[in-house]
Amino acid sequence: MAGYFKNILSGSWSLIVGLSITQKEFFKKPVTLQYPWESLEMSPRFRGHIQLVKDAESGTHRCICCGMCEKGCPSGCITVKGEKQEGVKGKVLVGYDLDFTKCSLCGQCIENCKPAAIEFSKEYNLASTRKEDFHYDLLKRLKEQK
């Protein structure tokens, strides 16, 4: 019988402790961020979709069209179009298409890239109702960046 009352008392005490915790938390400041009004700086290693690196010296990309990114990609979302042009050694990049709908941001392409021509962007505000909006022409994107 003593145990019965002891149980009731200790049980009620645990309930009061619980209430005091939530009441205390009530007076603390919210920890959430009101997203459309405020947003965080992405960390330096944040993985957005890939983009072509703009070379500081030449002012353009560094891609040599070796196709290693295309080969390394597990989901086949990269298409590199290279062309033989006169007077230029090797191939010249004419199109770099990324199908971001399939990309899993693993980073294999960036690891495979010898001249370090691609990097992760910091884009995260991506929303659309159409799939086509996630087919990026990275070469065009690089040119528009200027």
Partner: protein, 372 residues
Amino acid sequence: MSSQALSQNKERFELNLGPQHPATHGVLRVKLLMDGEYIVNAEPVLGYIHRMHELMGENRTWAQYLPNMGRLDYLSALSYNLGYVELVEKMAGIEVPERAEYIRVITTELNRISSHLLWFGAFVLDLGGFTPLLYAFDDREQILDLLEAVTGARLTYCYFRFGGCYNDVEDNFLSGTLAFIKRLRSRMPMYHNLVTKNVILMQRLEGVGPISAEMCRKYGATGPVLRGSGVNYDVRKNEPYSIYPEIDFDVPVYHECDSMARYNVRMDEIDQCMRIIEQAIAKIPEGPVMAEKVPKMIKPEPGDYYHTVEAARGSFGIRAVSDGKNQAYRMKLRSPTFSNLSLYQEASKGMLLADALALMGSLDLVIPEIDR
């Protein structure tokens, strides 16, 4: 009492719990045969998020399969990353630099804490308490921030590579991790006062959903489910891998076999994870994080290989069969919750609906990992 009630009443009905149901944490469906509030038979129906990861393993090179590992159990993705890269390193005979091993352990254990925190919140939510979930999310968010700074992703990590890690950690990650551990240590008493010691929670969990050690053995259950049944089995201790042998930690074991025991195991594991991280940070050596000689195209010797690691939900095993090519001939993923859930049908017989959901929550299910 329950079995008597079952036999007397013949008015039974079927109830479909899921695939869209708040308590099944995803797209699990449970076909319930109910007798009033009692469960006569509960048959889980799987496959709603089946993606055939095993076939993908046969179609991709060893390195290309890495991102799949983050998408099995998205809550403790790094454990799966670790299991896979260790298997391939074993197959191809790649040595991993010591610093990389330490980084792997630190990040994996952080990921384990975040997984257990999310489980804690979701479990209490299953029981009807909403607030602890968001407190747990507050802490988990700190871990995600830390891991994002290292791996670049918040959930589906693809960070480990054959022979090391994608990139080195920075010193502010290590100091940030220590600061986080200090913070979580100060928050744990709050969790225990708010939830663990709450009389309603104790009533709902104590003695509910008994799973004996023998049942665990027959069904192959591992992880906290097994440890809550009084079996001291942890792959990190029993089959040490990486640098776990050099680290001093305990395996929490509870003998009550009920939902409360499984709850306590996970809560104690959070403490142990913090101990592991602290020791690893104290010991971490300088050096490279990538092995020097990693073949560009990995072609393991033919044969089959097995490797197991302790994921947050139990032992995760991979059986890979190689035929000497750069793709696996067969990739079998042994997911822990698949086995853990398989005992649900037997364990939930004759339980109340509410208790059966408490039992399901205490198994800590992640459906994409079950369905693969």
